[in-house]
């Protein structure tokens, strides 16, 4: 059976830290994009055409929401990565325990 343990203890710990940070920050970013925060305006991928809108802010709002969905999906990916790192940490601890 292929061993499930692929990272060392330090890399798994880094993975957990990065994942927690990623989840928290990306979820918050997603929320802020969802409420159409003005401060994040420059990060929204609008083009010149979006300003020729019939219904003024709706196109921009739609773009905002698209970015926020991207952020939430990335947060979910980080949550999976966090779970994987956590498993690695547990496997590492078990291996250490058995050797001793």
């Amino acid at each position: 059976m292929v061993t499930l343990l692929c990272c060392g203890p330090k890399m798994a710990a880094c993975g957990i830290v990065l994942s927690i940070w990623g989840v928290i920050m990306l979820v918050l970013l997603g929320i802020f994009f969802n409420v159409h925060s003005a401060v994040l305006f420059e990060d929204v991928p609008f083009t010149e055409n979006d300003f020729q809108d019939k219904n003024p802010p709706q196109e921009i709002y739609r773009l905002y929401e698209k970015v926020s969905y991207n952020c939430f999906i990335a947060a979910a990916i980080y949550a999976l990565l966090g779970g994987f790192s956590f498993c690695q940490v547990r496997l590492n601890k078990r291996k250490e325990y058995m050797v001793r």
Binding site: G22, S37, V67
Partner: protein, 808 residues
């Protein structure tokens, strides 16, 4: 609590205890770690001290332990850590420990030497084996035209029968020396020999464990003289060469047997050595600690003096007054342990010497105290700036680092280190010096992080984006018609638009409640505003911090007249010039409305004109009424200029006057004494000459102090501008990082934007930690340190407590 503001009050104490209990008492004091022993035998050399023999024995044991440790690490055996940090061993254990350690040492030496000998033997035997093999091969491949009476079998070699016909010498030589050997032979024997050589396939190991290549050679020669000559040459090259007579048939079998068995013996020796080392490795750290403690105790005993009856030991120690009872109880415990009936006596004595400086610290304050001490330890009972540094240092760091996102990460990291304190302390010996430094600064890091979150909220900067916690005070809609000047045409035709706070409704009148308005994050002239704000803020902080330092130094003045002579002019100079500057800044912030912004006077020009006494005619250049302003400013500049000669001249002149008065009185005394006794005149004259030389010193010292202070004021105020410079750098770096990294992923219109975001977020995280946290953090730390260096004092002796863990 007043104790931490000043260094502790110290006293000199004499201890009397019996010789038998001397060892135990000192070991108890060592465990306590609160006293500093004074050397009572300063004149004696190391060899004359009483306990020199014991110190030598301890040093010998240390040497053996060091050798053992080297052997253990060479063999790759892990050493157990020093277990419970137990008490120092008593004197009896010295003998026991010594015998155990010496036994291990002897064992190891024996094993090593037998290992060497066996290895050498093995090498020789192997060489011989290859030699014989080669000779055999050689005689096989070149069939010699022999007379029939000689039988020559392919399996056995009979060199003894061949020896009657020709002689040969065979041996083994290192490959690199072979060409030289050949050349020497050629020259000596003039070519009358036949040499064959071949390389040995196996590699040999030197005692120094380098791999050698060896070659086997065989020389055929005629004549006895040649044999002698070649023998000498071989000796010169350090080889063992065997002559044909020596190579016997039986020799081969013996050799083969020995070569077969030797590796086994070698292996067993190795195993035994490994066992000895492993058993030593278990205890070695403990032994080391014990030996170190014993050596420290004997060294300290050498510092004490023994009285004539050889029964009493006298020691003098410096200790804090508040710890006297603890020391007394430790001494009683020590004397009870050694089983003596008399308790040691503590006797406090007065001394003219300045005691060493001791600042009692907890694990929280110790890191701040270390920072202050690195600039210079304060005098005895001088005001200790360390408790104030606990707040000012993290605050100045935070002004330069202000970002609440980064500050939050720093705070969390420091909190994790503090919670894992026990874990880190156990790992103390294994981790590298860098993480050790980081761990010991964990409280500083925590405070720096907390303050950074605070200044980050004020600068409204979180990973370079602003947080709109409250509603912004600016309103863009009010710029449009009918309240403002903009039309649709204006919006479409201009590249940048400026919000005018004078237009009604644009600025709501009540500014953003806490921090900088988030709308500045979106504006392109953000830096124009922030630069001016941060520069002025830095100057204000600088002047306040310096004034605070001067106020603190008030506590250090011993004589009240020094306050008048030195403190008052210093404060007046500072306040007249830089205090006025701060006033101008704050006044301009409060009093100039935005409607008058076009005509607002520049503070810098204003200040320069003030110093140069040039007042132009136009009334615009004044913040407040021009007449009053003129008078006030002239008055301030003149006052400041008057302070300089006050600081420079008044004190030395007063001292000079006092000297002259004393001189006159001593002259009177001299003339009176002349009538009585003429011997003491030379003595008094010598004194007066000495006093005059001192006057020059006093003047120079005062001049240096004045210049240093005045120039220092100006340059230090300017150097606080680094607060602005570094916070600008941090903000810009943050922004560039955001634009280059997450911006790319967030503005991707592709469908796989989320995957890109995942990868790019990881890159963003790593870059934030390395560049913004580590690099910028270190840089801001360094600059905050530099701003604190004015609190340095004259270097004096720091209290060196006797504690065996720290000694030697």
């Amino acid at each position: 609590m007043a104790l931490i503001f000043q260094s502790e009050e110290m006293c000199l104490v004499q201890l009397f205890f019996q010789s038998e209990s001397g060892y135990c008492c000192i070991s108890e004091l060592g465990e306590l770690g609160l006293v500093q022993f004074k050397d009572l035998n300063p004149g004696t050399t190391a060899f004359q001290r009483k306990f020199i023999k014991e110190v030598r024995r301890c040093e010998e044991m240390e040497r053996i332990l060091w050798f053992l440790e080297k052997e253990i690490t060479k063999a790759g055996i892990p050493m157990a850590d020093a277990s419970v940090l137990g008490e120092a061993p008593c004197a009896r254990e010295l003998l026991e420990l010594e015998s155990v350690i010496e036994k291990v040492d002897k064992d190891l030496k024996e094993i090593n030497s037998s290992h060497e000998a066996l290895k050498r033997n093995l090498t020789e035997l192997l060489e011989m084996k290859y030699l014989l093999q080669m000779i055999q091969d050689f005689f096989e491949e070149t069939p010699i035209d022999l007379p029939d009476r000689l039988t020559f079998s392919s399996h056995s070699l009979t060199p003894s029968s061949l020896s009657s016909l020709c002689r040969f010498v065979a041996g083994v030589i290192k490959q690199e020396r072979f060409p030289a050997f050949e050349r020497v032979l050629w020259r000596v024997c003039r070519g009358n020999f036949f040499l064959r050589h071949s390389e040995i396939q196996a590699r040999f190991e030197d005692p120094v464990a380098t791999i050698l290549k060896k070659e086997v050679f065989i020389i055929f020669l005629q004549g006895e003289q040649f044999k002698g000559k070649i023998g000498k040459i071989c000796e010169g090259f350090g080889l063992t060469a065997s002559h044909s007579k020596a190579l016997n048939h039986c020799f081969i079998c013996d050799h083969v047997i020995l070569v077969f068995f030797s590796p086994k013996v070698l292996n067993q020796t190795n195993e035994h050595r490994h066992n000895v080392l492993t058993s030593a490795a278990v205890n070695i750290q403990n032994w080391k600690t014990k030996v170190k403690k014993m050596k420290a105790i004997y060294h300290t005993l050498n510092l004490c003096s023994i009285d004539i009856t050889q029964k009493l030991v006298i020691a003098e120690i410096w200790c804090p007054v508040s710890d006297l009872s603890e020391i007394h109880s430790a001494l009683i415990k020590g004397s009870e342990k050694s089983g003596s009936s008399l308790h040691p006596v503590l006797h406090r004595i007065e001394s003219q010497q300045t005691p060493p400086t001791f600042n009692r610290t907890t694990s929280f304050t110790s890191s701040f105290q270390t920072i202050i001490d690195s600039y210079g330890v304060g005098d005895y009972q001088e005001i200790n700036p360390a408790p104030f540094t606990i707040i000012t240092f993290p605050f100045l760091f935070a002004v330069m680092f202000g970002d609440c996102g980064h500050g939050l990460i720093m705070t969390l990291f420091a909190t994790w280190m503090i919670l894992q304190e026990g874990h880190f302390k156990r790992l103390k010996n294994e981790v590298c010096a860098l993480s050790d430094t980081l761990f010991s600064g964990r409280y500083i890091l925590l405070l720096m992080g907390l303050f950074s979150v605070y200044t980050g909220l004020i600068y409204n900067d979180c990973f370079s984006k602003s947080l709109s916690i409250f509603a912004s005070a600016w309103n863009v809609r009010a710029m449009f018609q009918p309240t403002g000047p903009w039309t649709n045409h204006t919006v479409h035709s201009s590249v940048t638009l400026q919000l005018d706070p004078v237009s009604p409704g644009v600025f709501s009148g009540s500014p953003y409640p806490f921090g900088i308005d988030p709308i500045w994050n979106l504006s392109s002239n953000k830096l124009t505003f922030l630069n001016s704000y941060k520069m002025k803020m830095s100057v204000i902080f600088g002047v306040v911090h310096m004034l605070f330092g001067i106020m603190l130094s008030l506590g250090n003045y011993m004589e009240p007249r020094n306050i008048l002579l030195q403190f008052v002019p210093e404060v007046t100079f500072m306040l007249a010039l830089f205090g006025y500057l701060v006033f101008l800044i704050i006044f301009k912030w409060c009093a100039v409305p935005s409607s008058a912004s076009r005509r607002a006077p520049s503070i810098l020009l204003h200040f320069i004109n003030m110093m140069m006494f040039s007042y132009p005619e136009s009334s615009d250049s004044f913040l407040y009424g021009s007449q009053v302003g003129c008078i006030v400013q002239i008055f301030l500049v003149v006052t400041a200029l008057l302070m300089v000669p006050w600081m420079l001249l008044v004190k030395p002149l007063i001292i000079l006057k006092e000297q002259k008065k004393e001189q006159r009185s001593t002259k009177e005394l001299v003339s009176w004494q002349k009538k009585r006794n003429s011997e003491s005149i030379q003595h008094l004259e010598g004194d007066t000459v000495f006093l005059q030389v001192n006057m020059g010193d006093v003047f120079v010292h005062q001049a240096i102090h004045t210049i240093e202070y005045c120039l220092g004021c100006v340059s230090n105020t300017a150097s606080y501008l680094r607060l602005w410079a570094l916070s600008l750098a941090h903000a810009e770096l943050s922004e560039v990082l955001w634009k280059m990294v997450p911006h790319v992923a967030l503005s991707a219109r592709a469908y796989l934007g989320s995957l890109m975001l995942t990868v790019i977020f990881a890159i963003f995280a790593i870059l934030t930690v390395t560049i913004l946290l580590i690099m910028e953090g270190l840089s801001a730390f360094l600059h905050a340190l530099r701003l604190h260096c004015k609190f340095a004092g004259v270097p004096v002796t720091l209290f060196a407590e006797f504690s065996p863990e720290m000694s030697q």
